[in-house]
């Protein structure tokens, strides 16, 4: 076991299909068009020095360490902002570049404390790494000049110095260690979409500022921790790291909170969790997390956690710690006794979506194979059962038809009765990112949720009366059908055409029009008409309590049910319902 070091490619992956080939330090590299030279170099195994670049956010070009030379071009462009192009011949290490980088590092360190040995980031500091990488040996400017490092300079109060902000319960902000790379500001904007951070002041006075020079806790910050993860120094540091020290090994795990299923590296020292770092390989979260997964893991070592098997014969007795063997025997004997007395169907099993996939699988196996009945269920009965029914009726499977990544390709997203901003924050961040790129959002909800209006995005909100989802969707379908907005080729490819025609004739009835249904739905008819974007390929995100209905399949590309807890859908896939066995196949009566 060791600490998993994920490669930081410096800039995000390019999704272009076209390829370009260039030469970096004498080696030929082929990368997708739109890839930065920095990333291309990393793909080829060369790490160009960098501080302001990190692959979770777009290139910024501010630190000026990643300079390169390109044959036939004047100057020393930054490799993070220079796109790889066919035929370029790039050099990442020349005498000129070495001198420039050393010059930049000398400036950085002239305004940075030299307390590396007692610094919380010691061993995990990119500034330290870069000082080493460029061979900085001397800071000729001295430390008597203007700085943000010392509370007092030459005996006088240093107005530029700011005390540590420890207001946030999970991390600290130490402005004296800040190198103003803006990684935190950009992470807050681009990854999380909260826009709580900015840079205040100009020139040498620039500092990271939560809101209008507020404290972190007093600002708009939602403590998602994306800024802490992005920070290359000790400026933003988890309090747990300050207290414990650097971790030494990681365990990849899944967050136990909501239904997004974020992957994490639990970074450990011995058996102690030092911090939780969202895993970039996690297909649901792609390296991002919310406050719960990243910081609210105190329960892992909570004193009330039950760590040993306990049994008791009667509810009036106290629990008794026993060996596993005794506990198993006790449980098996009791269950068998019940079955013998009351019949085979007298026992069953219910698991929770908080359990692991393996546990839930084994429970249904135990009930079906061990006890010989189909009496298994989960909390998915309440939240996923209606969507599952709707999805399986419409699509032949009760699972979502898309993965979370597909939101990056959606042009229109309709959220029905769900509020991912509070229930599935990491997915909400990914959705908001796409919306800021220009995708449209329609929110069908009596509530004015955070999805309706967030920084730099505004949804079309249809504040329908409770219980009228189907009527609104039918009215929407009415508009699509009667205004000739149906993408016929798309429908023919996916639906039985004659059944579609039946359905189309039904929704086209005048009593299904926006005008006719307005009286019960409360939705302004104009809100449903004149929106050709409804036709665009998109995603539907019905809440768990909504029954899907056929109208959805007409204009939509795909749908995902928004489920309450982390493995609701998986529970069903693992056969944790009466009607379906593993793989979402329909269960047969056990003879």
């Amino acid at each position: 076991m060791s600490l998993i070091q994920e490669t930081d490619f410096g800039t995000p992956r390019s999704k272009s299909a076209g390829l370009v080939t260039l030469t970096i330090d004498g080696r030929s590299v082929t990368v997708p068009e739109g890839t930065s030279i920095m990333r291309a170099a990393m793909e080829a195994g060369t790490q160009i020095p960098k501080l302001c670049a990190t692959d979770m956010v777009d290139a910024f070009g501010s630190c000026r360490l990643c300079l390169i030379e390109i044959e036939g071009r004047a100057g020393t462009p930054a490799s993070c902002t220079s796109p790889a192009m066919n035929g370029l011949v790039v050099h990442t290490q020349t005498e000129r570049l070495k001198k420039l980088r050393k010059g930049v590092m000398e400036l950085y360190i002239s305004d940075h404390p030299l307390d590396c040995l007692t610094c919380a980031a010691n061993g995990d500091c990119e500034l330290q790494d870069m000082a080493g990488a460029v061979g900085l040996r001397d800071v000729r400017y001295g430390y008597e000049g203007d700085n943000h490092v010392f509370a007092r300079t030459n005996g006088d109060i240093n107005a530029a110095w700011m005390p540590k902000d420890e207001s946030n319960p999970y991390f600290t902000y130490d402005p004296s260690k800040c190198i103003v790379c803006s990684r935190c500001v950009r992470a807050c904007e681009q990854v999380q979409g909260t826009f709580a951070l900015t840079i205040s002041g100009r020139g040498f006075d620039s500092r990271v500022s939560p809101g209008m020079s507020e404290s972190f806790l007093g600002s708009e910050c939602v403590s998602c921790g994306a800024c802490v993860q992005a920070c290359p120094t000790a400026t933003l540091t988890e309090k747990s790291v300050i207290e414990i020290g650097q971790p030494e090994h990681s365990v990849v795990t899944t967050c136990a909170y909501c239904g997004v299923g974020c992957a994490f590296k639990a970074e450990m020292r011995g058996e102690e969790v030092v911090r939780m770092v969202p895993y970039k390989d996690g297909k649901a979260n792609r390296g991002h997390s919310c406050v719960k997964g990243r910081f609210a893991w105190g329960y892992t070592t909570h004193k009330e956690r039950i760590l040993k098997p306990m049994i008791r014969d009667h509810i009036s007795e106290p629990w008794r710690e026993v060996s596993w063997d005794e506990a198993f025997n006790f449980a098996a004997t009791k269950f068998r006794g019940i079955q013998q007395k009351y019949g085979r169907d007298a026992v069953g099993g219910i698991t929770s979506s908080r359990c692991t996939n393996e546990e839930t699988y084994l429970v249904q196996k135990l009930i079906r194979a061990g006890f010989g009945n189909n009496n298994v269920d989960t909390c998915a009965r309440v939240c996923h059962s209606p969507t599952g029914y709707g999805l399986s009726t419409t699509f032949g499977t009760s699972a979502g038809t898309q993965d979370f990544d597909s939101v990056e390709h959606s042009d229109v997203v309709m959220v029905i009765g769900a509020n991912p901003a509070s229930a599935h924050p990491v997915f909400a961040s990914r959705l908001k990112k796409r919306l800021r790129q220009g995708a449209k959002l329609i929110v069908l909800d009596p509530r004015r949720t955070e999805m309706v209006e967030a920084p730099h995005l505004k949804a079309q909100h249809l504040p329908l009366l409770p219980g009228t989802n189907v009527a609104v969707l039918t009215a929407m379908a009415h508009v699509i059908v009667t205004e000739g907005l149906v993408d016929e080729a798309f429908v023919r490819e996916r639906c039985d055409w004659s059944e579609f025609e039946d359905w189309a004739a039904f929704v086209a009835l005048p009593n299904n029009s926006p005008e006719a249904t307005a009286i019960m739905t409360g939705v302004e008819p104009n809100e449903l008409r004149g929106h050709p974007q409804h036709r665009a390929r998109g995603a539907f995100l019905p809440d768990g309590t909504l029954r899907s209905q056929p109208a959805l399949s007409t204009p939509a590309g795909s749908r995902a049910p928004k489920l309450g807890e982390h493995s609701v859908e998986v529970l069903r896939e693992h056969g944790l319902s009466q009607e379906e066995i593993e793989g979402l196949r329909v269960a047969r009566a056990i003879a």
Binding site: G61, V104, Y141, F204
Partner: protein, 512 residues
């Protein structure tokens, strides 16, 4: 027939009392019982003669200046009697300082009423747009390319290529942005033209819109220019009423809207990408290039962003003057440059002339040396980021490449003159205000000033000069934008040409 007088409403003229002079003439005429009409024009750019009063005569306008309010009654008598007057300068156009110029861009500045579309048209205005509308986009781009016009903001990038890039870029919307955040020390040409001939800027931007397929333009004016903001807003309204802005401009199928946006007082917003950020309502910090604004500019759309003077040069070029424009100049610097003479100079003002005139001619001959009468020691060309040139380099022709070859730049065409009392080490420490996006600028500018101060205090002079040289190298090649990239120019040139000043301060203090 009533008497027609012309008095500038230019901020530079108003600052020395032009409004009071105009009022004094009105009062004097009322007492005398004669009718006069005072046309408030822009400035001719002969600032040492402001407030300049011109009177219409059959031979042309006759100029008097500098006039004070107390001169008004006597001057009025002299005008009526056509008698002599000590302030009489003769026919305005014949004043040598003006006659020696080649005024293509500033042809109407100081002549017309900047609030009157009719006056603008009567002096050849809107001929360029009218022709452009008949030419179509390709021919407009060809004309701009033929003229050899290069961006007058300082970078000198060929305008034709920039416009063609935007014309070829695909985008649902395109924008025209005029950079009027004129913040370089010793420059005032943008302000002058906006106050004196705002329609030429509007016409130039409209032609750009037609050429690249943009229907919306913004003029970003620094907040320190209230008169220019007022003049541009008034001119936009007048152009709209006359059908030269809005839908179907000049009875064509093109539409073009213009809007003035006022900066919030940041020098860095004169850098084009910072300006775009500021226009979008964000903090004014530099964007990394690529992508170029031509591909990904304002609100992410293809954008032409040019300086005021670049747009103002366009109407002449499109009115059939592309080749005539190109015939002026030298080498790759074609056409004319409105040069601004400022600082410690006897004849300060705007001098538009073809490229190729030498720095010496501009400073000694046209500028008349220093105002203090002392010897010229240094001139800074191209704003605060321009190099300091000593007399030894006065043979340098005013030309982008010639200045670059001597580690200088012509920038926006500002020349600031210093006499022999200047302390060049003190000049070199003038730190600019930066956006702080990139490290060399953010920390380097502060450390640079500190190190120069050490040198001036005599601390380890040789070592610290080496540190400054290294820092300049880091800033010149390491900075994100031209601001940081050019900061070393004044410092390095001061070090190179005036090394004696770098040591314990012993010099006379320059007037500041």
């Amino acid at each position: 027939m009533s008497m027609r007088l012309f008095i500038s409403r230019d901020a530079g003229a108003v600052a020395v009392g032009a409004d009071d002079v105009a009022l004094a003439f009105e009062q004097a005429a009322a007492r005398r019982g004669i009718e006069i009409e005072i046309v408030r024009t822009g400035s001719r750019g002969l600032y040492w003669l402001e407030p300049l009063v011109e009177v219409a005569t059959p031979q042309g306008r006759v100029a008097f200046g500098p006039v004070t309010p107390t001169d008004a009654p006597f001057l009025l008598e002299a005008i009526i009697s056509d008698g002599p007057h000590p302030l009489r300068l003769g026919i305005t156009e014949e004043i040598p300082w003006l006659r020696r110029q080649t005024r293509l861009t500033f042809a109407r500045c100081g002549v017309i009423d900047p609030r009157s579309v009719d006056d603008y048209r009567a002096h050849g205005g809107y001929k360029g747009l009218e022709r452009a509308l008949t030419l179509g986009a390709d021919a407009i781009l060809a004309d701009v390319t033929t003229s050899g016009l290069r961006g007058r903001g300082g970078a000198g990038f060929p305008t034709g290529i920039k416009w063609r890039t935007v014309a070829l870029a695909s985008g649902t919307r395109k924008y025209i942005v005029c950079n009027a955040d004129e913040g370089d020390s010793g420059t005032f040409a943008d302000r002058m033209i906006m106050e004196g001939d705002p329609f030429v800027v509007i016409e130039g931007m409209t032609i750009a819109g037609v050429a690249v397929g943009a229907s919306k333009g913004y003029i970003y004016i620094r907040s320190e220019y209230p008169h220019a903001i007022q003049a541009m807003n008034a001119a936009i309204l007048a152009a709209k009423r006359a059908g030269y802005l809005g839908a179907d401009i000049g009875s064509s199928s093109h539409s073009f809207e213009l809007e003035v946006r006022v900066g919030a007082g940041a020098y860095v917003c004169g850098e084009e990408t910072s300006l775009l950020e500021s226009l979008e309502g964000r903090r004014g910090i530099v964007r990394a290039k690529p992508p170029l604004p031509a591909h990904h500019g304002l609100f992410g759309k293809p954008t032409v962003i040019n300086n005021v003077l670049s747009f103002a040069a366009i109407p002449f070029i499109l009115a059939g003057g592309a080749q005539a424009y190109a015939d002026f100049g030298m080498g790759r610097s074609r056409g004319t440059m409105p040069i601004q003479l400022a600082g410690n100079i006897r004849y300060g003002g705007l001098f538009e002339t073809a490229f190729g005139i030498t720095l010496g001619e501009l400073v000694d001959d046209i500028g008349g040396g220093t105002l203090t009468g002392r010897a010229v020691r240094a001139v800074q060309v191209g704003g605060p980021l321009g190099a300091y040139f000593p007399r030894a380099l006065f043979d340098t022709p005013f030309d982008y490449e010639a200045f670059a070859a001597r580690d200088g730049l012509i920038g926006h065409g500002g020349i600031v003159v210093f006499d022999d009392s200047v302390d060049m080490a003190k000049q070199a420490r003038f730190a600019m205000e930066f956006c702080a996006k990139c490290t060399p600028c953010r920390i380097g500018s502060t450390r640079g000033v500190e190190t120069i101060d050490k040198i001036r205090r005599g601390e380890r002079v040789a070592e610290n000069i080496a540190v400054v040289e290294d820092l300049c190298n880091t800033m010149k090649f390491g900075s994100l934008c031209a601001l940081g990239g050019f900061t070393p120019y004044p410092v390095m040139s001061a070090l190179k040409h005036f090394k004696d000043d770098f040591g314990p301060a012993t010099h006379l203090q320059a007037a500041e």
